[in-house]
């Protein structure tokens, strides 16, 4: 079975795993600040389709990115089951909309494999590695820097 969270172990790292369109993804736990339920966002005019809008995080204006749209699964219709993972990337606070958070897992660096060359869909550029779990599931590790380009009205 999976071990409990262990910190500062060489060759191991903790990740937050979540589901998108029935696939398992994860991001490094060091980037995640908190996870909260979905609340309706205020739309941003002229924003890319994967920008869901902005939400109020205790007085701060935080952009919510629809990861489903970003990874090419189509625009999500958020419900109360959806979660927003609040992460920090390049000094900015950003919310990542996911279907649901599955777990917090400890993975060893050895288990991280490269992305097969055959995979050529749009999701590939955002995925830095694949992890095979003991129960046979595959975790796809997301690179936030690729997922979140310089967001601004100018790209719209």
């Amino acid at each position: 079975m999976l071990k409990s969270i262990s910190h500062n172990v060489v060759g191991k790292s903790d990740v937050v795993a979540f589901k998108l369109a029935d696939q398992d993804f994860c991001i490094d736990i060091g980037l995640v600040r908190e996870i909260r339920g979905w609340t309706p966002a205020t739309m941003l005019p002229h924003a890319p389709d994967y920008v869901k809008g902005v939400i109020n995080l205790r007085g701060a204006v935080v952009t919510v990115v629809d990861m489903s749209a970003r990874l090419g699964f189509g625009i999500a219709e958020p419900s109360h089951r959806h979660v927003v993972i609040i992460a920090i990337h390049a000094g900015r606070v950003v919310g990542l909309l996911a279907d649901l958070v599955a777990d917090i897992l400890t993975i060893s660096d050895d288990s991280l494999q490269g992305v097969p060359d055959l995979a050529s869909n749009s999701a590939r550029e955002f995925i830095t590695g694949m992890i095979t779990l003991e129960d046979g599931r595959i975790l796809r590790k997301i690179d936030l820097a690729q997922l979140l380009p310089e967001m601004s009205g100018a790209d719209a």
Binding site: H46, V54, G59, V62, M151
Partner: protein, 724 residues
């Protein structure tokens, strides 16, 4: 050596203030009826900088300040006339001193070439006067003349009785240092109070036994003495008596003879209780040093090391005799945190008011009264914090004198700067961010606005140009104007250049105001020859962008042959704005109330189509284009038009438009939250805010929307904004 760094930083902060005193004083020295005290204040400023610099081993600074001071001393003692060339040199030295301090602060080596030249000129001045040259550069305390500051009537001499307690020694203070400080105020006669020394048999080694009697001349005020003892007030008993008459020197020694010349015993006996009020001729009402800090400033910041942190009393005003209110120095981040929390409070208050509505309690009188008083309090707190952050524009305006001098030197045009309304206060953040735009504008006015003196004389104007920098509060905004009395904007020339650079299509019909706006386009540089000063083609567009990012606007008003005025209108604060809450589809947005002229429910007679898709509103004989905000923001459009509400807005360039919205439902103060911090710029949106229900609403930038839709030039502006 963290401590030393802290002192160092404090020294530089103090330097900034002293430089301000210096620059302000020098300007006052040019006035015809020069008061001696102004020269003194200038001298003291340079002297204090020198003293501090010596304490931190900044030898370049000390050398320079010393020569500077020597010249000032000559002026002070009437051994040198204040002539125009001397004043010019003094101004340049003040600039040079500021540069040296700046490089010392950055830890860089100073530009010796520049200061070397100034030093040579100073030396020449000193030499020509034939005095004081080659004086070794050491920091020596200088006795200053406080004739003006001291209590005016022929006051009696002061007698101070000082009995330090054990705490004074324990906290590392030294009576000798206090006496030295007193000496700086004037000649002090110090004598040991021998009768206070307890006999050896009852000696307690933990208790100090020495007390002193100090005599100061009548020119010293009690307040000055209290200042010296400010930091030891709680561990030193102090009595100050003013003797009833002024004794002659021979007389004054007589009563003191009793106390004199008993050498301190090796073993100091415990301190006896303070003796009863001394000889009969001493005023029976002693001044007991009160625990509260005296509100009197230290009129002579002679201490080479800046004062201990803590309550700090403003000391820069030359009219120090009128005690200013005590001030406190607080880190900006603390004020910012307070400001943020007040922003939260305003939001929470709005949330609460919404909750009350939802709960159906809005008719309960006590609930409403309670909510009202909270709202009022929150408003008052917000105003108070804004007042803390408010700073007079003087801080920026003073720096402009130097910019003007340099610009005048570089262009060879004689110019005078008049500043008005320096005391107008704006938010501290704005003060800092106004420096660059104003610098650009002053340079621009000198370089492009003013004609050269030959042309001016031909046109019947005085050879010396005048640039006026003024500030005032106007209807909830701060208005800053930079005006010159030059030739005004040469509009045919501006148009020609804009056409040559492809900024406008040749032959485009443009109004005078529109031509003036061309000056703000990036890459527009009007000067035929690129000058070192302001002809780099970056200037006014940068000014405009910077002012816009502060939520302000820049306008030009120019009359040919009479001059050009640039006006900057700024919001009072960057934290809140008064907004109108509007509904657009399912979105709530905020429109700043300052742009709104009127709101109306249109009827069919007022609406006119113009070609496909464009509609005009006729209102009081004027045709105003209607802008559908839904389509601007990519939302489904509202149909039919008659059911919508129109809001007429006006831009600073007097362009009007009618915004079409679903409904207007409230007007309230909203807290401005940056959208750029976590996202980026959105066209047509200036910021975001948080509504009572916790939802975010976007704040519309009406100016940008109108400009981007109106005409050719507007599209250029929009392109420019996007580039920014």
């Amino acid at each position: 050596m963290e401590n030393l760094d802290e002192f160092r930083e404090m020294f530089f902060v103090e330097c900034d203030e002293l430089l301000e005193v210096l620059a302000g004083g020098l300007r006052q020295m040019e006035a015809a009826d020069l008061e001696k005290e102004i020269v003194h204040s200038v001298f003291r400023a340079v002297h204090s900088i020198k003293g501090g610099a010596a304490a931190f081993g900044l030898s370049d600074l000390v050398t320079f300040a010393h020569r500077f001071e020597t010249v000032l001393d000559l002026i002070r003692s009437d051994r040198m006339e204040i002539e125009a060339p001397v004043m010019t040199l003094l101004h340049r030295c003040s600039d040079g001193l500021a540069d040296l301090i700046e490089s010392a602060r950055a830890g860089l080596d100073a530009d010796r070439g520049l200061t070397g030249a100034l030093l040579a000129e100073l030396d020449a001045l000193i030499d020509s006067d034939g005095s004081d040259e080659g004086e070794p550069i050491v920091f020596t305390p200088i006795t200053l003349d406080f004739g003006d500051v001291a209590a005016s009537p022929p006051a009696a001499a002061l007698r101070i009785r000082m009995s330090p307690s054990a705490d004074l020694y324990r906290s590392g203070n030294d009576p000798v240092a206090l006496m030295t400080a007193l000496r700086k105020l004037g000649p002090a006669e110090v004598s040991l109070l021998a009768e206070e020394v307890a006999p050896l048999e009852s000696w307690d080694p933990d208790q100090p036994g020495l007390a002193w009697d100090i005599r100061m001349p009548s020119s010293v005020t009690e307040a000055q003495i209290l200042t010296v003892f400010e930091f030891v007030e709680d561990c030193c008993r102090l009595f100050i008596d003013r003797l009833a008459e002024v004794p002659g020197p021979a007389l004054s020694l007589a009563p003191l003879a009793d106390f004199l010349a008993v050498p301190a015993p090796d073993a100091a006996p415990p301190m006896a209780p303070l003796p009863p009020p001394g000889p009969a001729r001493i005023d029976p009402a002693p001044v007991q040093l009160a625990p509260q800090t005296p509100a009197t400033p230290d009129p002579e910041p002679a201490d080479p090391i800046p004062a201990v942190p803590g309550l700090r009393v403003a000391s820069s005003a030359p009219e120090a005799a009128a005690a200013p209110a005590p001030t406190i120095r607080v880190g900006l981040e603390r004020v910012d945190r307070l400001m943020n929390m007040i922003g939260e409070l305003v939001i929470k208050e709005a949330m609460l008011s919404q909750t009350i509505q939802t709960a159906g309690l809005q008719d309960a009188p006590d609930v409403v009264a309670g909510l009202d008083s909270i709202r009022q309090l929150a408003g008052e707190i917000q105003e108070s914090v804004m007042a803390i952050r408010a700073q007079p524009l003087k801080l920026v305006f003073q720096r402009m004198h130097r910019i003007l001098r340099e610009a005048a030197d570089a262009t060879g045009k004689p110019v005078r700067l008049i500043t008005l309304g320096e005391q107008t206060e704006v938010d501290k953040t704005m003060i800092e961010r106004l420096v660059d735009p104003l610098t650009h504008m002053i340079r621009n006015s000198v370089d492009h606005g003013l004609e050269d003196s030959v042309t001016r004389q031909r046109r019947g104007k005085p050879a010396e140009g005048v640039i006026t920098l003024s500030a005032a509060h106007r209807s909830g905004r701060v208005q800053i104007e930079v005006s010159d009395d030059g030739g005004g904007i040469d509009r045919p020339r501006v148009r020609q250049i804009a056409e040559e650079r492809g900024l406008v299509a040749p032959g485009t019909p443009l109004s005078a105001a529109e031509i003036d706006q061309l000056l703000f386009l990036p890459g527009f540089s009007c000067k035929d020859q690129v000058s070192a000063l302001s002809g780099r083609g970056v200037g006014l567009d940068v000014v405009r962008r910077e002012i816009m990012s502060l939520g302000g606007r820049v306008m030009i008003h120019s009359v040919e042959g009479e001059g050009t005025t640039f006006s900057i209108a700024l919001p009072l604060t960057l934290a809140v704005l008064e907004g109108m809450l509007i509904q657009l589809g399912d979105q709530t947005m905020v429109l700043p109330i300052t742009a709104v002229q009127e709101t109306l429910q249109p009827n069919r007679a007022m609406l006119h189509g113009m070609g496909a898709g464009t509609q005009l509103l006729s209102s009081r004989g004027e045709l105003i284009p209607i802008v559908d905000l839904c389509s601007v923001f990519g939302l489904p459009a509202i149909e039919p038009l008659e059911s919508a509400v129109l809001i007429v807005v006006e831009t600073d360039t007097r362009q009007r438009a009618a915004f079409r919205v679903d409904s207007i439902f409230d007007q309230r103060q909203v807290v401005i939250k940056s959208l750029e911090q976590n996202y980026g710029r959105v066209p047509g949106v200036s910021a975001a805010t948080i509504l009572g229900d916790g939802q975010i609403a976007l704040i519309i930038d009406p100016e940008e929307i109108v400009l981007s839709l109106s005409n050719d030039q507007g599209r250029l502006m929009a392109a420019m904004a996007a580039n920014g």
